[in-house]
């Protein structure tokens, strides 16, 4: 009656593993499909494919687009596109300095991690600044411990405007979410 170690038992064991692997693979593809799903955004001659299912905010001032992943843990992963008016002689490094100064004034514990000229995922010239700050919730009764946020800004100068594309995520999620941000950056078009 006890058939342990039989050939049938071995087959059953292998089948269980196979079924589990198939289910997990299907789950992985389903997850990837959800993460790659996007919705189009277009304003002021700038277009991009934004992640589907995120919270989009109304444009405000220089800020043309802000989308937030409501399901990310800690500080919610955020993409922002800003358009800043500049003179035709302005360089990307000058704009980057102004952007960094603005961050230093607005963000608690702001710390610049790196700044350099780069070619982005589409081969366009950009200036990249990476930084960290502490999420400052103005609500004094807010019980949660503040989050350390890491950010990266890609700055492009196009004629008399600079386009600043920002990525901000909780320190723990920054590297994990970076690939998705690069896909967003790749879809960005302002020509």
């Amino acid at each position: 009656m006890n058939k342990q170690g039989s050939l049938g038992d071995r087959f059953a064991e292998i089948t269980v593993i196979l079924v589990t692997v198939i289910a997990l693979t299907a789950g992985w593809f389903y997850k990837s499909g959800l993460e790659n799903a996007s919705v189009p955004f277009e304003a002021e001659g700038i277009s991009a494919q934004a992640p589907k299912g995120w919270l989009n905010y109304e444009p405000s001032g220089e800020e043309l687009f802000r989308t937030v992943d409501r399901y990310s843990s800690g500080f919610s992963t955020t993409y922002v596109i800003r358009q800043i008016a500049v003179t035709s002689e302005a360089t990307t490094s000058e704009v980057a300095s102004a952007v960094a100064l603005g961050h230093a004034q607005d963000m608690l514990g702001f710390s610049m991690l790196d700044q350099q000229e780069v070619r982005d995922v589409n081969g366009r010239n950009a200036y990249m600044i990476t930084y960290a700050y502490v999420e400052s919730n103005p609500d004094v009764t807010h019980a949660a411990i503040p989050s350390v946020v890491r950010g990266a800004d890609f700055i492009y100068v196009s004629g008399e405007r600079a386009i600043v594309v920002s990525y901000q995520a909780d320190e723990e999620n920054y590297d994990l979410d970076l690939g998705r941000f690069y896909r967003f950056l790749q879809s960005l078009d302002f020509s």
Binding site: A12, A23, A26, G27, L34
Partner: protein
Amino acid sequence: MSESKAIHERKHIWRDEILLIVVMCVFVGIVYALDGALKPQFTPSTLLLTGVFLALVPAFIWLVFFYLQDRAEPEPKGFVLGVFALGGLFAAAIGIPMTDGLFRVSHWLYTDTLTTILGGILVVGFTQEYLKYAAVRYSIYNSDEFDESTDGVVYATAAGLGYATVLNINFVVSNGGVDLGTGIIRMAVVALAQAAFSGITGYFLGRAKFESEPVWWMPLGITLAAIFNGVFNWLQGTITQPVITLSGSTTPTWMGLVLAAVVALTTTGVILWLVRRSIKSLQAGK
């Protein structure tokens, strides 16, 4: 291995399962009432320790009942505790890193109903149910101590409670402690649900060992347990959604406990019926 063992039914298992459900509900009620009446103040460290202690309670209750009643033909205590520990170890070493780290389910699982159900089954369900199955299959299953078809339910329940305990401890630690009232309800729900789903796998394991089942038998068991797991997760999320009224908002966390108790009782009832039917059929063919 004697045939008489395989057709023997360790009757107190069903009592243990039902007592676990009833005593858990009573225990939750007492803790909830005490929390409301005394409104205890905790320091961060005592809150954390209390949460961890509460996470251990469901498994402790089940193990106490099991040992008190398992006197006629006792299972080796070390084996039951070992499978319990293995279930917990698999959860900590593989299950939680996989669902939370690799699949990052909290980022996408609750996007919509279809995703909650599909992701709950394919990722969370299969990961958890396979690991609980593995905790039994690769430890006690080939031992001579696994000598009754109901042993599948016993050891799978132990693995399930081990898994649930680690899930609850992980929840407490990652949140720096839990609110006593809602925390104990969550822990009871997780423990009852995990024990119930493990019971399904355990029934299939028991029959796989002592009867000539086809090759798809065990995969069917894991798949059924995973489906129950995913659907339960969605149902629980749906019925415990906060309700906004003119007088404020309320979260019906109690409904989660009611659902878990009903699922656990129903699963136990169905498995009991299936085991008895299987034993009768074996006895008839003896």
